[in-house]
Subunit: 428 residues, 2 copies
Amino acid sequence: MDKNKVVSQLSLKYLFNPCTQMSEHKFLELLPIKSAKGVYLYDFNDKAYIDCISSWWVNIFGHQNEYIGKKLKEQIDCLEHIILAGFTHKPIVDLSKRLCEINNNNFQKCFFADNGSSAVEIALKMSFHKNFLQGKKKELFLSLSNSYHGETIAALSISDVGIYKNTYKDLLIKNIFTPVPSFNDSDFSSYLKALEDILKKYADKISAFIIEPLIQCAGNMNMYKVEYLNKAVRMAKEYDVDIIFDEIAVGFARTSTMFAYMQSDIVPDFLCLSKAISGGYLPLSVVMLKDCVYDEFYGDYKRSFLHSHSYTGNALACACANAVLDIFENEDVINVNKIKSAYIFKRWQEFLNYKEVKNLRHCGMVFAFDVDCNINNFTSLIKQKALEKGLLLRPLAKTIYFMPPYIINNDEIDYVINNLHLILKEIL
Amino acid sequence: MDKNKVVSQLSLKYLFNPCTQMSEHKFLELLPIKSAKGVYLYDFNDKAYIDCISSWWVNIFGHQNEYIGKKLKEQIDCLEHIILAGFTHKPIVDLSKRLCEINNNNFQKCFFADNGSSAVEIALKMSFHKNFLQGKKKELFLSLSNSYHGETIAALSISDVGIYKNTYKDLLIKNIFTPVPSFNDSDFSSYLKALEDILKKYADKISAFIIEPLIQCAGNMNMYKVEYLNKAVRMAKEYDVDIIFDEIAVGFARTSTMFAYMQSDIVPDFLCLSKAISGGYLPLSVVMLKDCVYDEFYGDYKRSFLHSHSYTGNALACACANAVLDIFENEDVINVNKIKSAYIFKRWQEFLNYKEVKNLRHCGMVFAFDVDCNINNFTSLIKQKALEKGLLLRPLAKTIYFMPPYIINNDEIDYVINNLHLILKEIL
């Protein structure tokens, strides 16, 4: 039997994959990956695929990265994990300090968790709890339409993703959505008016406004302009609403600056990070906050913020994150990315030649366009055709995007673009 | 300056520790751990501490375990991580198959996540969603008084832990508690009557009854008898309520059987596992379910269970989990534990000689007693005294417990017991 089939059939027997309608795999191959190196994934027949989506936006410095692997192995031979209540360790102390420093000390404390959803839940709880301690009862949250913040119930509640949440409506916490501008919008008056109407009516009940700055990644890569961000956040701050930036997908230089908020003229109260933080190696997330918030929880036991997860601050994950920061320090990643981003975008614009391609856009190392077509099973079809051509692509509805590891080189970029041309020519 | 202080002061400057009132560290040392091996943790002054709580109940085969470390390094040199939607890999396929097999195929599918809270949220969502697909609108959950299931909002909602959740009451989802028997109860009629009253009134609205079988660990190590579990679960099943067992803390032989439910005569609909699953190395959790549940989500896109986390099914964490299962296969862990458990309990009973010691109890490799005293800051005092004597102890309120890595030997056990005697003599 085909070597891939042996593994994939066993997988289908025992594994329920995330974010997947499993019946899709009656038609679309569930591809088993044997190993990976750089931008390449290898299946059990030794066929190579370029990871065009950084394995769900986590892998920035390539698979089997030698430096990260080396630092991780060193940590294995020292301390793999220790409870973080009452105890601490050097990898997490170094990481916390460095995260504050690369944020220009805009934040002074780090609170860790294991995944993005948990980080979002922590930020929501912290904002609510801080307000509660200040005598303010604010049980509402505000978020942008088309937003995505995770899958645990509270994170899902503040996300605007119909199919992911409609079923659970009787379980969700209270949230208000304000309309987000899209890529083409440059007049934000109606959006700001909508926001102001909400704030006028509900601000005294809203703990926090949570925002994915610059790009709503899961929201079909909606890239909106920083002017809206600046104005919306300043307005919310005037109404005494906390600001949470969810940079889980865009943090660590994806949008061209180390963090997306650095392109704005504001600093949020809370910053949620995950995904690329460990270079795509291990689950790790963090909420960064300011000392003025931390101080609210400091005092007698009744003021405690008692959130925890067993593996909070796992030393192995921290070692990977420190290695990632080493790479940022030792290599001129952000400037090299600028050259790479310009090269990719030059070629990406070739897709404007297809009449079905709309809203072609990019921001830093994220490239996208929408396909205006009536093809059934568009996403499955693209995924399948991409695999045939040695690409891992995963369109979001009718949006095709390219979000590669930063280490991709020009030859690999050309391979992706050339083959995406072939795919579009076949299906359009 | 003292080497520990250098690290701990930097830690206090940048890190907000989980489950901690940070002001406690004005008096109690925040101890930095440099390395760990076996049951021993070493601080920056090279002082050793026995990890009496398996680093929050995660570490079962010791720190820097050579076998787990070796298997983890092999995985680093092959595949560290790949998106699990549309893709799969051998470590997770092997792990899923093995988890089903060591559960005697009572469950046929595995759905992965990164921490216990997320696993609980997945189980709640899955039960609710499955019922929804079957045309049943059941927006309530049922759990035991004194229960603990995690910190994300939905997991917290079904937990009965005042100080952790009271603040957030306006954010919580709807839950009903039924009283749990305590260690000393052997007549369960009033408990079962209370449960029946709830079921009679609300069963058509209750999706699932979630239970920590045999021991409510965070609930001050409340060990209740299996007879209650059997009767309560059978009753709930008669009322068409799903059963979720949260074995995050007790799974993987902590209670003497591989999973706690194996001491009962029932099999739950969902089994949540985490903590010891990776041997205390990496964040990983799983919800095990049956094909009849999986099949409900199989079909057109509208039936999809679309939960995901970026690092779901991380290959490195799966490699650790497979190594843990290897150790269970290759060494007679459960039977060796029985001998060790008997030895510990023989010595543990020496604490009955203190008049303040009440409810001395054990279950498998968990040993506990309550201290009836009026000492202020009892838990901080025990923690501090324990550190002085080279022990990591972390009482739950007035409950002292011992939950060591399984690899602890008799000399180390004696050291713990002898020093706990000294501590009690000093403070009582």
